[in-house]
Subunit: 233 residues, 2 copies
Amino acid sequence: MGAPKAFFFDIFGTIVDWREGVAREAHSILHPLGHDMIWTAFADAWRGKYQAGMEEIRSGAQPFSKLDVVHARTLEWILADFGLADISAETKHALVLAWHKLDAWPDSTRGIAMLRRQGFVAPVSNGNFSLMAALARRNNFHWDAILGAEFSRDYKPKPDVYLSACAAFDLAPEDCMMVAAHSDDLAAAKACGLQTGFIARPNEKGPGKGESKPKIAVDLAGEDLVDFANKLV
Amino acid sequence: MGAPKAFFFDIFGTIVDWREGVAREAHSILHPLGHDMIWTAFADAWRGKYQAGMEEIRSGAQPFSKLDVVHARTLEWILADFGLADISAETKHALVLAWHKLDAWPDSTRGIAMLRRQGFVAPVSNGNFSLMAALARRNNFHWDAILGAEFSRDYKPKPDVYLSACAAFDLAPEDCMMVAAHSDDLAAAKACGLQTGFIARPNEKGPGKGESKPKIAVDLAGEDLVDFANKLV
């Protein structure tokens, strides 16, 4: 395969640390209101409903809505378990916006900038435009475009999310590389004909609970995004 | 009205000089093949078919296709007038890509950077993602996102092109400002509830043939984008 002309990035877990960020924001929103809990357990529980929330849309049971709306819906599913059944609409909205305030892993910003010298760079995430734009501002990512679920109006791992991104750059799938810390995301991209790049994020879901090795054959794997970019050159 | 939280930009004519760029690229592609013509007349003629090309899609006569495809279609309409009826498919494709190689007006890059400190910045152009991304790379624009026709799957001045951009940033229209050198674009945005910013580009269509003053009441007008940004602060 030739050198990729575009790099598409998974964001949650691959580029930013959703677990510590959601836990931190939930603490800062809910603790002053008198709530206490294991904040990472709250983040894990919410993220645990992520696939089920998107599946309502992928299956056609619900019309497309941006991820912020899915997050608002899945938040409802876990509130009672954390003693939050009575929080206000404003508090719920603030919690949804926690996902706009996540910090990059230490190597992400530099790695993206390195890869941008090799080709186009764009998030192909399930996150919506405003969420992606907020994370880019917070972490100084310079994307060529934001693509992914809100552009495709469906959610990964549906093929159109990957293929619409290739088409937006006028590129064949084999000239594009999906970069992710999740083997299932890469398997779906590979089935669409994209090249695959794996980034190890072993602590994404808590210490040792992320993927440290890909479960499928990938075109390139890196210990982090800078290591990955260095291997590519 | 409050300060805009997002600035949406028309691109062709407002941010980049399509006329000199298309003329220069056409010359560099066609002159070595033995063609000669008034190159700006070729650019003017092609641009002259722009609205008719998009109207086929706005009217529903043709399904949505990205602007590169519209440009390829409208190019066919003018080839014979310039003695180009026999050029190859490769040459036609190279001409379509001329629109990816346009230079910014001297103030555009700095003006966009200044406005980016005030709010989100995004092209809301009829140009497609790959075209917008190519112009951004060439001219060092740092957009928060690319929105506009390809995202909306219709062409300005249809309301959804403006409204889908506001919605992508989770903003009400009154919190967004459309920035353009064309009164008709601003009138359409204003009808959707957006704020309006006019940039004078008196030479866009040839010396003195662009708009030096807005034909409608606008919220802010600038002699160029830096002047505009300075007035806004």
